[in-house]
């Protein structure tokens, strides 16, 4: 928990988005379903891309080509989880503030997103990267996104 961030949580809780979701019966459930759709797209695409980076599948298709085919799926997934995730967060920001699992999730989410648009993007688009770098990139991508998912699921239990 980072106490200095508390004003941000107070603000998020008080947004009209947060209020609308909190004060109605259905939006939270519906948004959470869409959040799961996004997770499926993102994890699925990163999983497949990592299999290619490990050299387990589609060996005769260049890495950059697989990345091009999967890139829009993971991007769509990432945009979906972020938009729905922020909406869910706004509806219970102060609950999240005092939930350790939420902080662990964010400790994975921000590095994962940064990694996704930097190293992961570069390595998957290149034909010249070494097998070791490819393997490491695939492993880190899976590790980071799975961490986000595990702690995301855990929020509800704490």
């Amino acid at each position: 928990m980072i106490p200095a961030f508390r004003p941000f949580f107070v603000w998020a809780e008080d947004t009209s988005l947060g209020n609308v979701i909190r004060n109605h019966q259905y939006p939270f459930a519906v948004i959470e379903v869409v959040h799961l759709f996004g997770l499926t797209l993102l994890l699925g695409a990163v999983f497949l891309m990592s299999l290619r980076l490990f050299g387990f599948i589609l060996l005769d298709t260049p890495v950059s080509k697989v990345a091009k085919q999967l890139g829009w799926i993971s991007l769509l997934g990432l945009v979906t989880v972020t938009v729905t995730g922020f909406s869910l967060f706004a509806s219970e920001a102060l609950k999240c503030f005092s939930n350790d699992m939420y902080w662990y999730k964010m400790a994975f989410f921000f590095p994962a997103t940064l990694f996704h648009f930097t190293v992961y993007r570069k390595v998957t688009r290149s034909e010249k990267s070494k097998p070791f770098l490819r393997g490491l990139t695939g492993f880190l991508a899976l590790f980071l996104w799975f961490g986000v998912a595990v702690f995301g699921r855990a929020i509800g239990y704490f």
Binding site: V33, L36, T40, A45, F47, L48, L70, I73, A154
Partner: protein
């Protein structure tokens, strides 16, 4: 014994009670169910998009199948085992949930879709294996798969709100 009584009996077995009341096993089983969903359904989606002619168009369909299937099977097996355990420990609650019923129907339809595709549509695969855009019957199989999995995921998540 009626179906509901059977569900109630299942839920009340030692195993069912222990899983339901465990602060460790229940969250772990449910977490694994969701993670396995992400990778296996995510992978099947790519296969569906290939069948519909929207992705990996210059890759023969048989090769896509050979590459993807063995990697998504573990996910599906985990999802099935954890799904059975989750049902086991709250069978009577599930029986009474409209979303669970929708989910079961969608799962059965997804199974029929797969069987029909393998037994009927794929018989002529040699003729369209390399086609960028496969024939309508194959594209429909991909479309149905995506729609049914969408329903399965939504109903599965919404079930938990009625418990």
């Amino acid at each position: 014994m009626s179906l509901l009584e059977m569900c109630q009996w299942l839920q009340d077995t030692d195993w069912g009670t222990q899983i339901r009341e465990s602060i460790f096993f229940f969250p772990v089983i449910e977490g694994m169910h969701v993670l396995a969903l992400g990778i296996s359904v995510g992978a099947v989606l790519w296969w569906d998009l290939r069948l519909m002619g929207f992705s990996m168009k210059d890759k023969p369909i048989s090769q896509m199948q050979a590459n993807i299937f063995k990697w998504m099977m573990p996910g599906f097996v985990i999802m099935m085992i954890t799904g059975v355990l989750l049902f086991w420990c709250q069978a009577a609650k599930a029986y009474n949930s409209i979303f669970f019923r929708i989910k079961v129907i969608a799962l059965i339809l997804a199974g029929i879709n797969i069987l029909y595709f393998h037994l009927k549509t794929q018989r002529s695969q040699a003729q369209w294996d390399t086609a960028g855009i496969p024939p309508t019957s194959a594209r429909m199989a991909g479309l149905f798969s995506i729609l049914l999995w969408t329903i399965i995921i939504a109903a599965g998540r919404l079930m938990a709100y009625t418990f």
